[in-house]
């Protein structure tokens, strides 16, 4: 048999049917649902008189649009409240399990799937959210879909898809102290551009990836879409199995042994080839930060903001100018020392326990700048509990940061957690788009270490000066 990549193995195992002139019909093993992109899909089912075909492979939670302050209070924003209530109604009507507000298992959809052991190697995973690639950290083919596709999966547990191209992202070497998983993915996107992976699925390989923890792998896979790839994955290994073993939905006993034996067949065969390839040297990476309004506008934290005059393509040049105008930044000047107004630590990119530990390691015994509002938002109720059991909440509060409830919060700024016009943040989230953290807000994306260090200094800071 021809050697295959893990991407092709998962694809081949999920093709239900393939007819001439049509995309392949692909089976979906896990469908995650949230309040923002699902109501119109459930409406579609009602209009057509259809049921949810596999509620046993479907799970919902409320995350995008939920408040992160006192959970004992009702949602104040009536429109948001109605959307969350609609999710609960839809799930009850169609028999879909739902961890809504008040559940011990509520959280960001890409945090709870892995922490519950639902996300497993070799699966196809979809969700009406572009950061679904997070689940690729387990060796799953996981990708974001629109609401029409949510409806298709609810009704049939299948999607029509063209086979993606394969793109090997080889990360050699070892990260230096103070350089994080977030910096790998920001460096990759700065190198290949936001459209570099369009039409492809990334496989992250190499020594640097193998030494990452599962949560760090999730951070890398999470932002695959920001490099244009709908999915990105890491082949499973012992790190994967150790993380999964004993989680609520992971197989148990003999079924676990059988599953691990099956999963061990997944890694890419020797001699398999990819459609595209890129190599990074982890040992040469610096902490990264974005300066603009697109993910390709990233650079080492100590570098200078690039000059649009050096860009040859006219639209690209004007796009960079527009970004610098929006960010009110001067070309040629470094970002280090640039004053900030807010720091956001959280999101499906960096809202897991190891991210909070990294931020706490910087904030312990220090105070955040009085000029900076600092939000620490755990990715799930479980992450919040774990952090509290370790005393991290005390470290954050003592430093002057706000310790919040679980949700997407200031990553997408739908729930009232947002920047004011003109404010700057250093954020551990995944998008620096105009207005992403609130109309007129300006976002510098970075790792939890850089974010925490910048909170202390009140300005963009290289965390290595504080470690």
């Amino acid at each position: 048999m021809k050697p295959r990549t893990i991407i092709e193995k998962i694809w081949d195992a999920h093709v239900v049917a393939e007819q001439a002139g049509a995309p392949a019909l692909v089976f979906i093993d896990l469908h995650l649902v949230h309040e923002v992109t699902s109501p119109q899909a459930f409406d579609g089912l009602r209009r057509r008189g259809l049921k949810v075909r596999r509620p046993d492979l479907t799970l919902a939670t409320a995350d995008h649009n939920v408040p992160t302050h006192d959970r004992s209070l009702p949602i104040l924003d009536q429109v948001s409240a109605r959307q969350v209530a609609q999710l609960e109604t839809n799930c009850a009507e169609f028999g879909v399990p739902c961890y809504s507000l008040g559940s011990e298992r509520q959280g960001i959809v890409h945090v709870i799937g892995p922490e519950l052991g639902l996300t497993q190697p070799g699966m196809t995973v979809v969700c009406g959210d572009s950061h679904t690639a997070t689940h690729g950290a387990f060796g799953a083919l996981a990708f974001g879909i629109g609401t029409s596709e949510v409806e298709n999966v609810l009704a049939t547990q299948c999607l029509l898809q063209r086979k993606p191209k394969t793109y090997q992202v080889q990360v050699n070497g070892t990260l230096r102290p103070g350089v994080a998983a977030k910096d790998i993915i920001l460096a990759l996107i700065a190198k290949i551009g936001t459209g570099g992976g369009t039409g492809s699925v990334f496989e992250y390989c190499g020594a640097a990836i193998r030494t990452l923890s599962m949560e760090e792998r999730m951070t890398v896979c999470n932002m695959s879409i920001e490099g244009g790839a709908r999915a990105g994955l890491v082949a499973p290994d012992d790190v994967t199995y150790q993380y999964m073993c004993g989680r609520p939905f992971a197989p148990k006993g003999a079924a676990w042994d059988a599953a691990v034996a099956r999963w061990k067949q997944l890694p890419t065969d020797n001699g398999a080839t990819y459609d595209k390839q890129v190599t990074l040297d982890a040992g040469a990476l610096e902490p990264m930060i974005t300066f603009g309004t697109s993910l390709g506008m990233g650079m080492p934290v100590a570098a200078a903001v690039p000059d649009p005059a050096t860009v040859a393509d006219p639209i690209e040049r004007e796009s960079l100018r527009k970004a610098l105008r929006y960010m009110d930044l001067e070309a040629g000047k470094p970002l280090l020392g640039h004053a900030i107004d807010a720091v956001f630590i959280g999101s499906c990119t960096n809202g897991r326990i190891t991210d909070l530990r990294a931020a706490a390691s910087v904030l312990k015994g220090r105070k955040v700048s009085p000029k900076v509002r600092v939000l620490v938002v755990p990715g799930s109720v479980q992450v919040r509990k774990q952090a509290e059991s370790e005393g991290l909440d005390e470290i954050f509060r003592a430093a002057g940061a706000e310790w919040r409830e679980a949700g997407c919060s200031m990553c997408i700024a739908m729930n009232g957690d947002q920047l004011r016009p003109g404010e700057y943040s250093v954020s551990t989230s995944n998008r620096n788009f105009e207005g992403r953290q609130g109309p007129g807000g300006r976002t510098f994306l970075a790792s939890p270490l850089t974010a925490a260090a910048s909170a202390v200094a009140g300005a963009v800071t290289d965390a290595r000066t504080l470690l």
Binding site: L57, G95, D129, G146, N152, T194, G195, F249, I315
Partner: protein
């Protein structure tokens, strides 16, 4: 869905690369549980000031945009989130096609499912179209999906390519779900041979 038929329209040029879905429709408008009412919010933060007044410099607020059905945009249009609200909003504003050098994967799929046609052209044609839109704002192009051709005012035809299945669905005015449902026997057979994994209800 209505059948997608050929049409002619002026172009609205938006020469910005990487226009993301947060610009097309900001997240705060996604609290709706309906597909409707999004056209007024398309490009909201580029289109209106903080008081909600139209910014006269923005192209959608200029007379040339009125009634235009073709958006001409920079590279990698529709990057970012999976929100299908982006094509819904563009369609409700009145656009039926977007021309660019490339589209983000999820946006392209979402657009095709809603009869908003993503038209990919070469860098040369792209530059030429921006030039045309700048020099002759009233110039019309014809978008002909059946022939997969973009016809310029001087009569030249530029060929473009659209996924054959999506094209069939658009020209016939049918959506994918009917086709998937017709594969019931294959889906049931797959489920019967598939290894059981999880039960989210347990």
């Amino acid at each position: 869905m209505k059948k997608f038929t050929a049409f002619s329209s002026r172009m609205v040029p938006l020469p910005v690369d990487n226009i993301d879905t947060d610009q097309i429709i900001p997240a705060r408008f996604l609290k709706t549980i309906s597909k409707e009412g999004l056209g007024d919010q398309v490009f909201n933060d580029w289109r209106y000031d903080a008081e909600g007044k139209p910014k006269p410099k923005f192209i959608l607020n200029q007379p040339r945009a009125k009634g235009a059905q073709v958006l001409l945009a920079g590279d990698n249009f529709g990057c970012g989130s999976s929100r299908e609200h982006a094509p819904w909003a563009l369609l409700q504003y009145g656009f039926r096609a977007v021309i660019s050098t490339s589209f983000a994967d999820i946006f392209r799929q979402n657009a095709l499912k809603n009869a908003l046609l993503p038209v990919v052209v070469s860098r040369e044609v792209h530059a030429e179209l921006f030039d045309l839109a700048s020099k002759e704002p009233e110039a019309k192009v014809t978008v002909d999906l059946a022939a997969q051709r973009l016809i310029l005012p001087d009569g030249r035809a530029i060929e473009f390519s659209v996924d054959s299945f999506a094209r069939h669905c658009l020209l016939e005015g049918v959506d994918e779900l009917g086709y998937i449902l017709s594969q019931e026997a294959a889906i049931a057979a797959y489920e019967a041979r598939r290894e059981q994994t999880i039960d989210t209800r347990g």
